[in-house]
């Protein structure tokens, strides 16, 4: 009975466990509807601070439309997911993080956000955030991060470069910083390479400063507003810092490695108003060059004398601070009696916080076609001086060129013996100027119609496979042949050795030993001829082997006859005397003829 109760209890336990498992799985598999929540970390901030908006999606995932948030600048910060099992109920949550920076002060609203998952649409609740003009005191140091922006000139002329500089002052360590610069609407923008980093003390506190500068040029006269730049980053959460600074330097100081708790922060700079002034009306005679800034103009001629047909280089240099690269080709009077070919202009400019500085060279190849005096220029340029706020005429004087008659029949520059230095026909080397722009002409001969001799892929493949194939084929043949040759050489050497032993035995009077050795020498000779190895043979086997090896019938008969004679002496008990000596001689001849000279 007790056994029955025990078994029943065991069965009950099993059923209970199974039920829990089944219900758990059922709970896990149950399809729940998507629900969303919008959470902010603070509802009251200053205008310079930002808040973290967290969209939590439970039991599903959808696309969040944040474009309806108008009062804040929105920056996506990341996504995370988590799974929770509570009371056999599994819940999956997706978190989307956004950093929101207010665009104004007041009571700002994050409107209800639409989250779309397939055909299903759900909405979050709206959230109100109070934004104060004054910086709010905040645990952890509201003044830890400051972002300052400034312009070098608040009332520039249209076309005048100004420098926009933003400085990030960080009193704490900053990680994963991302800077979103203003759109600079109404300006052309030039990024200055690199950023400055230094330290400064403000109100008794030390800050590390990162400074980035852009060169801005107003496009048209208007009152412009440079929007705030926004920086999002992570800073160490002083209040939740878990452990001391890592001894392994900056790599492990990264929050990813150190496990340090950080908080997302966002700061923004002030908006900066800029008034771009229109250039005053230009009433000059010459056309305005479009240059705004501070410039100079210079003209130089490579030489003062030149012969007809030779070229000399005229260089006009526009140099200064401002939009130098925009400088057009200076206009000047082109006299008769010369041909003038402009070369490509050459620029050399640098950009720094004061603007664009440098020069632009315009070179012209001047080729006189008749002798006499040629006057080039004067050269003039109208620019706008942004400091003085007026147009200026840049002028250089005219340059004069004396054109000599051409050298008749004196093409060579090598001076004749005795020629004085003044008569030297060596001429100074000059820069070769481009006098035209065109492509090189077509090919005219009929070889053009010859096809390029490409090897088709199948033939190329055969060509690649052929040499290794040949190599390995020959290698196989040679190895097989080497094997046969080895047997021949081995058995021939053995035959000669046995013959020598037989001679020694005959001299010592041991007939039995001599005939036995002689027999083995003959057998070895037969094997050598056949290219095989072995120890003994019958007469029939001997004939068959020699026939297969292509040995003539006469030679075969001779070998078999010698074998028979040795056997007769060995087993017949005949007196060997003179017969053995003759037999040795005869065997020696047969071995020589059969195994050849090489085998000797």
């Amino acid at each position: 009975m007790s056994v029955m109760i025990s078994e029943t209890r065991r069965s009950m336990k099993f059923v209970c466990l199974l039920s829990v498992l089944v219900f758990s799985l059922a709970g896990a598999c149950e399809a729940e509807a998507l629900s969303v929540r919008a959470l902010v970390d603070r509802n009251r901030i200053s205008e310079q601070e930002s808040i973290e908006l967290r969209i939590v999606m439970t039991d599903g995932e959808g696309e969040v439309d944040v474009s309806v948030i108008k009062d804040f600048n929105v920056a996506f910060r990341g996504r995370s997911s988590s799974v929770r099992i509570v009371n056999t109920q599994m819940t999956r949550e997706i978190h989307l993080l956004y950093a929101l920076t207010p665009l104004r002060s007041g009571s700002l609203v994050i409107p209800s956000l639409e989250v779309r998952s397939g055909n299903e649409v759900v909405r979050t609740e709206s959230v109100t955030v109070e934004v104060n003009r004054q910086a709010a005191a905040r645990t952890g140091g509201g003044g830890d991060l400051l972002m300052l922006a400034s312009v070098s000139e608040a009332r520039p002329w249209v076309g005048q470069e100004i420098a926009y500089t933003f400085r990030l002052l960080a009193g704490v360590k900053v990680y994963s910083a991302r800077y979103q610069r203003p759109s600079f609407e109404g300006f052309t923008v030039k990024d200055l390479d690199g950023q400055k980093e230094y330290s400064t003390v403000l109100n008794g506190r030390q800050y590390s400063v990162t400074e980035v500068t852009y060169l801005l040029t107003p496009i048209r006269a208007n009152s412009l507003m440079i929007e705030p730049g926004v920086l999002t980053c992570e800073v160490a959460d002083v209040s939740r810092q878990a452990r001391p600074r890592s001894p392994f330097g900056s790599l492990f100081d990264d929050p990813f490695f150190s496990g340090r708790r950080t908080v997302a922060r966002s700061v923004r700079s002030e908006s900066i108003p800029v008034t771009a002034k229109a250039l005053p009306e230009y009433k000059g005679k010459r056309p305005f060059s479009g240059l705004v800034g501070s410039f100079s103009l210079a003209a130089s001629l490579e030489g003062k004398e030149v012969r007809v047909g030779d070229s000399v280089t005229l260089t006009l240099t526009v140099e200064g601070r401002g939009n130098v690269p925009d400088a057009p080709e200076p206009e000047f009077r082109r006299p008769d009696g010369v041909k003038i070919y402009p070369d490509n202009p050459e620029e050399s400019v640098t950009h720094d916080t004061t603007g664009t500085n440098g020069r632009k060279l315009f070179r012209f190849a001047i080729i006189p076609v008749e002798e006499g005096l040629v006057t080039l220029g004067p050269f003039a340029y109208t620019v706008f001086d942004s400091k003085a706020g007026e147009y200026r005429e840049l002028e250089t004087g005219a340059v004069t060129l004396r054109v000599q008659p051409p050298l008749g029949g004196m093409a060579t520059a090598v001076p004749s013996p005795g020629q004085s230095a003044g008569e030297s026909r060596f001429r100074p080397k000059r820069r070769v100027l481009r006098t035209g722009q065109d492509i090189l002409s077509i090919h005219r001969d009929l070889d053009v119609l010859k096809r390029s001799p490409q090897i088709a892929l199948p033939f190329f493949t055969v060509g690649i496979l052929f040499p290794p194939l040949m190599y390995f084929t020959f290698l196989g043949f040679s190895r097989a042949r080497q094997k046969t040759v080895s047997a021949r050489v081995q058995m021939a050497a053995r035959a000669r050795s046995l013959l020598n032993d037989a001679r020694a035995a005959e001299k010592s009077g041991s007939v039995q030993d001599a005939t036995s050795l002689l027999h083995r020498a003959l057998v070895s000779t037969v094997f050598a001829a056949a290219g095989r190895t072995g120890e003994s043979l019958t007469y029939d086997e001997t004939r068959a082997l020699l026939k297969d090896a292509g040995i003539s019938g006469e030679e075969t008969g001779q070998l078999v006859s010698l074998l028979m004679k040795t056997d007769e002496i060995r087993y017949g008990g005949a007196s060997a005397g003179a017969d053995l000596a003759g037999l040795l001689e005869e065997t020696s001849k047969v071995i020589r003829s059969t195994t050849g000279r090489r085998a000797r």
Binding site: Q437, I439, L440, S441, I442, H443, R444, L446, D447, V448, L449, K450, R451, S452, P453, Q454, I455, A456, L457, F459, F460, V462, G463, I464, F466, P467, P468, M470, Y471, F474, L475, F477, S478, R481, Q482, V485, R488, V489, A492, A528, A529, A549, G550, I551, T594, T595, G596, R598, A599
Partner: protein
């Protein structure tokens, strides 16, 4: 009967070279067909040259294109076609034919000059300039024409196997060094040659030939225009469907253009 142990590898090298010579003589001929130039074709060519010299660039384009359609293909012919297109104002087609010519005569100075000139006329700025590291490491691929690579690779390959054969009879460090060197160069050039065959057949490099082409998000006319490309710009043509080709200018500039506005450099 002779037991002389002669080894045939000595003659192997000569035999290999002789047969390879035959293959060379036979292969290229079979690859490109007969080199006989027919009279009407020479007339067409000369008509094209005359048209070019007379400033009738459309006529030159027509004549040279006609020759290409008849199966003629050489670097200089493609060069002439590129010149004619450029003079006619077809920048995209000019760069296309210069690029095709470049595959057959990569070191030609005239071609490089004209190609640079044509490239300077293109309007689209490439965001990420091409990193020339590959061109530096595999310089021979970009300095040698495809036929040259094929011939050189076969020669090195043959020399390597011939030296291996000779090395079996005559042992020497010089032979060994020669075999190692020719083997290395052989493998390098054979790989390059096979890569060239692959590229010739499967490369998706293409050139925009339309003057200004709107790149759209889809193949229908109402699809959003994502950006615009101009003649002569290089793209990767990924695939074609419904009369349009999906092109990639950079990683983040991808979209569909009408099929007739883009052409593969390797040809259709």
């Amino acid at each position: 009967m002779n037991l002389r142990s002669g080894f045939p590898l000595a003659s192997f090298a000569w035999f290999t070279v002789a047969l390879a010579g035959l293959l060379f003589a036979w292969g290229p001929g079979h690859a490109s067909g007969s080199d006989t130039i027919k009279r009407p074709d020479t007339d067409t060519f000369l008509a094209g040259v005359r048209a070019y010299e007379a400033g009738d660039y459309a006529g030159a384009v027509e004549a040279f294109s006609d020759l290409v359609a008849r199966g003629y293909g050489s670097g200089p012919l493609y060069f002439n076609l590129g010149n004619s297109h450029l003079k006619e104002g077809h920048l995209g087609h000019a760069i296309l034919w210069y690029e095709r010519s470049l595959k057959l005569m990569p070191g030609n100075a005239d071609l490089l000059y004209n190609l640079d000139y044509a490239r300077a006329l293109t309007r689209d700025e490439v965001d990420e300039p091409e990193v020339p590291l590959g061109r530096i490491i595999f310089f021979w691929k970009y300095r040698m024409s495809r036929p040259s690579v094929q011939v050189v690779s076969l020669l090195f390959w043959l020399a390597f196997w011939a030296l291996l054969g000779v090395k079996r009879i005559h042992r020497g460090s010089l032979l060994r060094a020669g075999a190692v060197l020719t083997g290395f160069l052989g493998v390098l050039f054979v790989s390059t040659a096979f890569y060239n065959y692959y590229e010739e057949r499967y490369s998706r490099d293409a050139v925009i030939v339309g003057e200004e082409v709107g790149v759209r998000a889809g193949t229908d006319e109402g699809a959003t225009e994502l950006f615009r490309l101009h003649a002569g710009t290089f793209v990767e043509a990924r695939r074609s469907e419904a009369g349009h080709t999906l092109v990639s200018f950079t990683k983040d500039r991808v979209g569909w253009v009408p099929e007739h506005d883009v052409e593969l450099i390797r040809g259709p």
